[in-house]
Symmetry: C2
Subunit: 410 residues, 2 copies
């Protein structure tokens, strides 16, 4: 008997019929003798509907109240799934974030989990009750409802799996697993059997959209084995787990992209010590995460600084940067929302050279201009004009020999 955490996303929970399918899958795992905790997202479309309602009122809604609003989507889902399981004759009990409790900090809309109570859930599992947990939401120490940001249900699932020391955390989604790149763009993309936490961190943070980055951080930190698989079939998916020797023989394991960032440049900044902190401190205080940063060489005492922020924070960031630029007596602020970031990822890069230059050459051959570059031990990212995104991915996928890669299990 194992303790299995299963997480179902919005598409899997998208209708009463689909919720029935989820319930049957949960019941099957339970009937095999396992204890089951199910973590669910809002029904697909529901969160967007709530956000649209909110935007009718205000583009910058009060953040505490925004979380009160959007957390209702998951509450609907847990109730419907528990009702379905109960109607099938199983004992089931739903939990909102505050009932577990999932304690977070107070950073509304992007709260971080600090602590998870396991006593209530353990008592239920002991009585062979199926536990249904609302993903995405928590509560801070003052009793305010918080949410973890888009895709936060993955983090909820992995965090609950870590807190309860589950044997596996199965993330059910509408795809079969993690692919070498988006199969909608490259039909030759293939499913990976396993991927290391670090590679997955790069894939997720760069926009592969299958798993939220923080869930992978959690999984890595607590050694939770994550199994990403489809809720529409019984195929095994992709295991996200510790790095092993096999993984290092591959140069590039996957290609990811991100169209959800925007670029902001501050032109002619007086080049004095402390400008970077002056520029970025107000952004971090506003809880905006800056991704890539480039500061060019200084000319005549002035420099240009360019960086990217999530599109969701773009307006807020631009307002702040304009104020700061004014105070710093910088030239002007220019911005571009039509960019995308394309990245190649692989733990094999650590022991092979020339991979970055092969990427630049491949893009250049197609006439794609590289606007920003950033590298880490296991990835190289380039910011390019958004309109070239698909082309860039296709040529890189072919150049790094991924087109022919086929996983045995398929």
């Amino acid at each position: 008997m194992a303790l299995v955490v299963q997480k179902y996303g919005g598409t899997s929970m998208g209708s009463i019929e689909r919720i029935r399918n989820v319930a049957q899958r949960v019941a099957k795992t339970f009937d095999e003798g396992n204890d089951v905790i199910v973590v669910v997202s809002a029904m697909s479309g529901e969160t967007n509907k709530l956000v649209a309602l909110c935007n009718e009122i205000s583009e910058l809604p009060n953040e505490r109240e925004y979380d009160v609003l959007v957390s209702t989507g998951e509450q609907v889902s847990i109730a419907l799934l528990a009702i379905t399981l109960e109607s099938m004759g199983y004992k089931a009990k739903s939990y909102c974030g505050f009932q577990i409790p999932i304690i977070t900090d107070s950073a509304c809309a992007k709260a971080r989990i600090e602590e998870i109570g396991d006593q209530n859930i353990r008592a239920d599992l002991k009585e062979r009750t199926i536990v249904v947990v609302a993903g995405f939401q928590g509560i801070d120490r003052k009793g305010n409802i918080t949410t973890l940001g888009r895709g936060g249900s993955d983090t909820s699932a992995v965090a609950v799996a870590a807190a309860l020391k589950a044997d596996v955390c199965e993330i059910y989604t509408d795809v079969d697993g993690i692919y070498t790149t988006d199969p909608r763009i490259v039909p030759e993309a293939s499913k990976m059997e396993k991927i290391s936490y670090d590679e997955m961190l790069e894939m997720a943070s760069l926009g592969s959209k299958v798993l939220q980055i923080r869930s992978v951080e959690f999984a890595k930190k607590y050694g939770v084995v994550v199994h990403v698989r489809s809720s529409f079939n019984d195929n095994s998916g992709t295991l996200v787990t510790k790095e092993d020797a096999d993984m290092e023989t591959v140069l590039v394991s996957g290609i990811s992209f991100n169209k959800d960032e925007a670029k902001i440049s501050v032109v002619r900044v007086p080049d004095k010590p402390g400008i970077a902190s002056k520029l970025f401190l107000p952004l971090s205080e506003a809880n905006i995460s800056v991704d890539m940063i480039i500061q060019n060489l200084s000319h005549e005492g002035f420099t240009d600084v360019t960086f990217t922020v999530p599109k969701g924070d773009f307006k807020k960031a631009l307002k702040i940067v304009n104020e700061t630029a004014g105070e710093m007596e910088a030239g002007k602020v220019i911005s571009d929302e039509n960019i995308s970031k394309v990245s190649i990822i692989g733990v094999g890069m650590r022991s092979h050279s020339g991979i970055a230059s092969k990427m630049f050459e491949t893009l250049s051959k197609e006439g794609i201009n590289i606007q920003m570059i950033s590298t880490s031990e296991i990835k190289v990212s380039c910011v390019i004009d958004a309109k070239y995104t698909e082309l860039a991915i296709r040529v890189l996928h072919a150049a790094f020999g991924l087109d022919s890669k086929q996983v045995a299990a398929e």
Copy 2:
């Protein structure tokens, strides 16, 4: 400066535009120097939508989970109203039932308020924050979400007004106040300037649908002055308050009706001591409130028992009664959902005779058969065939001189 509790129903909260109207009304009261607590219902149609989703899964859903589901409607409302007030520059803070807390018993879907914490709200009011409270919902002592039953937001509002010792509890709705009967049925119906708690209790329990009965019980118990008025204009409405001398000069102050009950008869019950308790105990254990009960004279050791239950509990009640009837070796169980109850109400009845017989005579003249009768000090109710409801109300309204009645304030 006063402490004003305002409650807005689903119609008043029915769209973003209407929520803006509510916010403006709240702001006006606040700007006049008052402290304001706003209690809101779900946007009109939302609760029904959630119930419909639930019914797709099960006709008898798990009750704990049902409450988790339907309580989300009010949570959406408090967030949207607080966001609107904040966007207008006011300090506003929303409260779910568990955050206040509104402690209830554990009778899901019809929980009763046991205790209300006032510390959190008082702290906010002291800082001139507008407090926005989710109606309809509470939390039991084990941490389960509960709801108070349809119309429960009125009770939430009056209970919060009682707990915080508010000066007035304004119930905003889509009608101008309490009418002598439903103006859609009798165009000559007129608005009452004031009505006693006891009359209102009879009006509400008999289906006037303006105020939930338990809210009036609360108001009576704690002496909360309730002002029922329209959210669409500035007219003063109807005050629900202590009885006074004026009220007693009127024979009948209003006519109400209820189409939301169904009739169940158990035929040929062996007439032994204890049959009533045997029949009704299982219903009360299932939290079903039985309204009118008639037990006919016994013939040859057998009797017939007829009673009414809310239509919402009809299927559940019928199932229970069928089981009990089997155990009691009764003849059979027959039922009728096509009934309605028409009632005349007035504190003046206490000191005047002949009012019941005038009611029976009026109905009989129109050929309307009376199936059940029940009386109290201040009302007479008759169960009739549902199809005669409107006719009965019209002739009674005229017979008791209400057609001509016109309130000076109008």
